[in-house]
Each structure stands twice: as C-alpha cells, then as structure tokens.
C-alpha cells in the first residue's frame, strides 16, 4: 500500500518537475505511463488532460478528461475539471463539441460507463446544453420500437432540418449500439436513410453492419453499396459482401446498378460489362432502366450500345403510358424500386454524363463540319481539274487562269469563315458565371445595332428582367447572335422593316429552375415541314454567298450550344405572324441538386 503510494507520488513529482521546466512532451509521456500503471486513478487522467490542453491538443485532452469522469464515481465534485474544459471547448470549437465529443459522452451515459451521480453532476454543471434535455434520452428509448416510428420521425426530421447534428449523433450511436433490433426494423431503416441523407456515412455504415448481422435484404445491400460509392471507399462492402461471379446473377436491378460503379472503381471491365449485359437482359423493357443503361453506355464510351439503346428507348417511349399502367398494377416493392427512385439515380447520372454529352455534341458538330467542308473542297478540285482538262486540249486563256485563282481564294476564304463561326463552340472553355439574362441579350442587340439599323429592324425585350443564370456567357451570346442574324436574313428581302421580340420568364420543371426565352420576328416564318430540319447542319434556305452566313450553320450552332447548356430550342409552329423559337436553359446546369 505504501509502496504504491510512493510510486504514485514519484510519478506525480516527476511529471510536475518536467511540467514546470517546460518539458511538456516528456511530462505527457510520463503521465501516460502513470495512467497505465494506475488505470483506476482519475488523478493522472486529469493531469494528462491539463498537459494536452496546455500543449494545444484538444482531442487528446478531451479523451483524457473523458476517461477521468468515468473514474470519479462517488465524487461528483470532480466533474468541475471536465465542465470547465467543456465551457472552454464550447468557445473554441463548438462544432466539434456538439458533433463529436458530446455524442460520445451521451453514448457513455447510455451504456452506463458514467455513473448516475456523475451524470447528474454533469447535467447540473453544463445544464444549459442538450445534456439537460432528458427528452433526448426518452427519444432514444423510443427508437427501440417501430410503434413509435411516426413520432420519432417527426422529431428527428426536425433535428435534421435544424442541423442539430449533436442530437442526431447521440441517437445514431444509440441505434448502432442497440442489442435487439427485431422490433425496430422500420426505425433502423429510417435512420439509415437519415444518416445517408445527412452524409454521416461512417455512422450509416456502422448501422448497416449491425443490421446485416440480423438480416440481409436487397435494399440493405443496395444501400451499403450506394453509401460506399458516395464515400468512395468500398472497404466495408468488401468486408460484408462476397463478390463472387454469381453475385451479379443473384442481384436485382438496383444492386446491379451499384455493382456497375463498384466494378468501375475496381477497374474490372469484364465484370462491369457482364453486369450491364445482365441488366439489359433482365430489365430492358422498362423505360427508366433503359435510359439508365443508355447513360451507362455513354459513361463507358460504349457508343454502339448507346446508339442501339437510344433506338430501343424510342420504341419504348411509344408505349410508355401503357407501361406505366402495367407497372402500377404489378409493383413488387423489394425487387423493384419505384420509378421515381430510378429517375433519381438517372438525375445523378446525368451530371456525370455532362462531359460525355458534350463530347457527343462535339462529335456531331465535327461530323457536320467535315461534311460541309466537302463543298468548298469539291469546288477547288473541280476548278483545278477543269483547268487541267483545258491544258491537255491546249485551250486555256489568261482569263481562265485568273478565274481559277479567284475561285480558289474565294473557296479558301469560305473555309476560313466556316472555321470562324465554329470557334465559339470549339473554344468553349467551360467558364460558367452568373449573369442577368435580359442585360446579356440587350448587349448582343446593341453590338449588332448597325446591322439591325441597316435593315430597319427594331427590337423589344419583355418579361422578367431580374432573371440570372449560371452558364457560359460566351456560348449564351452565340445563341442570340445567331438567332438575330437568322432573323435579319429572313427579313431581308421579305419586307423593308421588321421587329424582333424577346420574352423572358422562368419556371420550375422537375425540381429544376429554368429560364424560358421566346424569340420572335415578324418575317416570313418557318413552314411546319421544315421546322425540324432547320436545326440540322448546313440546312439553309438562302443561296450560299460567302461570308453572309447563309451556309446554314447558324441554327445548328444555336442548337448545339443549347445542347451543351443543357437547354433546348423548338420552333413554335403555332405562331403565324413570323418565326418563333422557344428556348429553355436551366438556371444552373444539373449537378445533382436542384
């Protein structure tokens, strides 16, 4: 007994000496030794906490003080050290306190690692905080039974809404540590959704691990894979699941969907393709799934398959209504997530598709471009070959040669003009910015005012002038530059003066805000039969005159840019007083959010 005392005193003296001579690291090392030698002596933990705090290591300080209060049973007055540290932490790092430290304390109280008298003392000393909230403790208890689902949901949803992460952590820990969860299956799956939603992925995975100890259903497996995907770490999934080849066959569509990502991460191209094939075989009669597959094909640059699938989708779309009816009537919950769920995934994919989509738009563009380059090239070759024919027959003149050279210069200029008009698309650097739609369009009209004045064309911009969007402003300009040019050309020769009107409004479609712009002129209008063709490359109703822009590129460029901006353009064929284009552009391009 006395040797023990001496030994403790020796430690205490050594630590004190080191501390007073400023050798903090050594003091800490000595103190750790002391806590190991006397694990039930709260005193060394307190000193250790003080030392860490002095050294600026708050995390370790907390751990030490935390160990201390577990050991002070019967001496509630000793919580003072912890309470002071608590007040101090609340000043310097309140977030960490509420999200990390306090849930641990609450958890310990639940597990009765902290004795009742100490708990009461804690409640007294740091009373104004949630610790005093006995309601939270009661709520934890209620999570043990699905009968309380509605009430628990209501309260916890509110906490999530208020970002009360401290309380959520407390309840989550409680759920993770619950022993019997047979009566709380619904509550557990609710919490899982909540943890995923609030991005507490580590906690969600811990909960999944516990749930999977007792039951494994497709939904939980799917959730596990999905969370691992979001966390970009499949360690837990690999620990809990056995990814044999047969796993793909045994899985439903929703799991296969996640498997695609898993195999992508593992760079297992073979199994990735096997999974896609499996999805195609089992589920391609559903339109949303076909669309999902289509997007996967684009993602993995499987353009042949994508093309095939897009034709398949066209077919399916025709019977979509019928299909919906069928699904509603034969919905199987576990096997088949709601169509909406699939749509949600699709939306997720869409943002990832952004790059691929632009690549395809660009490839279409280049195809159209090289196609049209054929024209000036043909002209040059023919003219040169004609000249050769004449030379062979000895029938050339100086004028012939001059004509030939002029033609070559004219046609090469034409190629250059074509390139110039493509430049805004090709040199797209993806720099998006917020800008006011009305101001931007007004600016384009002003830039083109000399041309407009020359043709006596007035313009009028109406609608909501406050709308701003986040997009590539240079591309946006090109849309309206080309539309205005198109109208000038249409009006030219049709009548002596004209008016171009632009109307701007916004609308929320499928959770996405978009700006709707109507662009009209009072020119000859666009006949219904060509209203689709006009967006094709090099469709022009004007005879080609070099440099005039009549080469039919304008609307094709417009269409392509809008495709890149995630928007759309249609000819409004019901408008009879001229041409009317209906344009939509998302206020912000899809990035998974609203």
């Amino acid at each position: 007994m006395s040797s023990r005392y001496i030994s403790q005193k020796t430690y205490a003296d050594t630590i004190s000496e080191l501390r007073s001579s400023g050798k903090l690291e050594q003091a800490i090392a000595e103190c750790i030794k002391a806590t190991k030698a006397f694990p039930d002596n709260n005193f060394f933990y307190r000193i250790l906490g003080d030392l860490y705090r002095q050294n600026g290591n708050m995390e370790s300080a907390f751990n030490a003080y935390f160990e201390q209060i577990k050991l002070i049973h019967g001496h509630p007055e000793l919580v003072r050290t912890f309470s002071r540290f608590y007040a101090y932490l609340k000043l310097i790092d309140p977030d960490k306190l509420t999200t990390e430290f306090m849930p641990r304390v609450m958890d310990s109280i639940q597990k009765e690692e902290i004795s009742y008298d100490i708990k009461e003392a804690l409640l007294l000393s740091i009373g104004e905080d949630f610790l005093v909230d006995k309601g939270l403790m009661e709520l934890c208890a209620k999570t043990n039974s699905d009968e309380n689902l509605t009430e628990v949901r209501k309260t916890v949803d509110k906490m999530a809404y208020e970002r009360n992460m401290g309380s959520i952590n407390v309840i989550a820990n409680y759920r993770i540590n619950a022993v019997n969860r047979h009566a709380s299956k619904k509550i557990d799956s609710y919490f899982l959704t909540l943890l995923e939603h609030t991005e507490l992925f580590d906690k969600a995975l811990l909960l999944i691990e516990k749930i999977m100890d007792q039951s494994r259903n497709p939904i939980i497996i799917r959730t596990l894979l999905r969370i691992c995907r979001k966390k970009e770490d499949y360690t837990i999934a690999e620990k809990l699941l056995f990814f044999d080849d047969n796993f793909i066959n045994r899985s439903d569509f929703n799991i296969q969907y996640e498997l695609v990502y898993y195999y992508e991460t593992r760079q297992d191209e073979h199994l990735l393709k096997v999974t896609l094939q499996k999805m195609k075989e089992s589920a391609s009669r559903s339109l949303p799934i076909s669309r999902t597959l289509y997007n996967f094909y684009l993602r993995f640059n499987m353009f042949e398959e994508a093309k095939e699938m897009s034709e398949h989708i066209k077919l399916l779309s025709n019977t979509e209504k019928q299909h919906r009816y069928n699904v509603t009537n034969s919905r199987i919950d576990e096997q088949f997530e709601s169509e909406q769920g699939v749509w949600f995934k699709l939306k997720e994919l869409v943002s990832e598709q952004e790059h691929n989509r632009q690549m395809i738009a660009l490839s279409d563009l280049l195809k159209g471009f090289s196609h049209e380059l054929g024209q000036p090239i043909t002209n040059i070759r023919y003219a040169v070959q004609l000249h050769q024919m004449k030379i062979q027959r000895g029938a050339t003149s100086k004028i012939d040669l001059e004509n030939l050279l002029a033609l070559i210069l004219r046609q090469t200029k034409r190629i250059d003009d074509m390139l110039a008009r493509f430049r805004p698309i090709i040199s797209n650097n993806g720099r998006a910015e917020w800008f006011n739609v009305t101001q931007r369009i007004t600016g384009i009209f002003e830039d083109m005012s000399s041309r407009l004045n020359m043709h006596c064309i007035q313009y009028l911009i109406t609608g909501d002038t406050s709308i701003t969007i986040f997009a590539d402003a240079v591309q946006f300009d090109q849309v309206f530059y080309n539309l205005i040019l198109n109208s000038i050309q249409a009006l030219d020769g049709y009548k002596d003066s004209g008016t171009i009107k632009v109307d701007i409004s916004s609308k929320k479609v499928k959770q996405i805000y978009q700006v709707e712009i109507s662009f009209f002129d009072d020119g000859p209008g666009i006949p219904i039969e060509i209203s689709k063709q006009i967006f094709e490359p090099f469709y022009s109703t004007k005879a080609p005159i070099s440099g005039s822009g009549g080469e039919g590129l304008g609307l094709f460029i417009v269409w392509n840019i809008l495709k890149m901006l995630d928007g759309s353009i249609y000819v409004n064929t019901s408008y009879k007083k001229g041409a009317k284009f209906d344009i939509t552009i998302p206020v912000k391009q899809t990035d998974g959010g609203t």
């Binding site: 024209q375 090239i377 002209n379 070759r381 023919y382 003219a383 070959q385 024919m389 046609q411 022009s540």
Partner: protein
C-alpha cells in the same frame, strides 16, 4: 447532241461541270434549286439529270421523286455527301443510275466519264456490231 440538266445550288460546282461537259460536246443547263430544276426539266428535253441532294427550297430526294414520276427513263446521277449505305440504297430504290461523292475525293474527270458513259452506253464499234447482228427484216419493217 445530248443535253444534261445540272440541279445544283453550288454555282461554282455546277459551272465547272457544265464547262467540262461542253468541252466534251455535251450541252448542259444549270438550275440553282429544286423548284427551278423541276420547271426546267418539264420545259426542256434532257437525257440526263445531275442532281444535288442537299438544296434549299426543295431537297434532292423530293426532286428525284417528281422526276421519276414524270419520266421513268431519264438517267439520274446524284451528288451526295452521304457515306451511309442506307441512304444510297433508299435512293437506288427510287431509281438513280449513279452517285458521286463530294469532298476530298471529288474528281471532275470521273463525273464527266460517268455522264458520258450513261449518255452513250455503247461505243461506235459496239453500235456497228449490234447493227450487223440485227436481222435485215427489222429495218425493212421499220421503213414501212
């Protein structure tokens, strides 16, 4: 003398072809779009039509359909940038005798040779052989 109708919105292309045909003693007229092409086709008598498929106002396919309806026998050669076999096949079904590509492989000599071949499918020698093999009665009957 043979006459060719060139329906082509690219005047530089059309003029080169016309001049090359003239060097080879074939008359040619130019129509600068589909509508004009059909009008000229109805007014004049042409042995062959050289038709561009991509044109303003009325596209080449439509022009071809009209021409075929009115004259199932006239030779039609189309210009196409289509590399797609399906498009060519579709046109062949409506009735074309040949197609020519524009672009880096465009060759005026080939175009002229193709036109001349269609216009005069038999060489002088071939014609003589054919006449020699035709029974005399055939000519006698015709005289009556």
């Amino acid at each position: 003398m043979n006459r060719v109708l060139i329906i082509e919105d690219e005047l530089d292309t059309a003029r080169s072809v016309r001049e090359a045909l003239e060097i080879n003693s074939v008359d040619a007229d130019i129509a600068k779009d589909g509508e004009e092409g059909i009008r000229m086709f109805r007014e004049g008598e042409y042995d062959l039509v050289l038709l561009d498929l991509k044109m303003p106002k009325m596209d080449g396919e439509h022009v071809l359909a009209v021409i075929r309806k009115e004259d199932p026998f006239v030779d039609v050669i189309v210009y196409t940038n289509f590399k797609d076999f399906a498009d060519i096949k579709k046109l062949t079904n409506i009735g074309i005798q040949g197609y020519i590509n524009k672009g880096p492989a465009a060759d005026l000599n080939e175009v002229i040779d193709m036109i001349l071949e269609k216009l005069a499918p038999l060489s002088e020698e071939d014609i003589q052989i054919l006449i020699n093999h035709t029974p005399k009665e055939f000519f006698d009957d015709n005289k009556e």
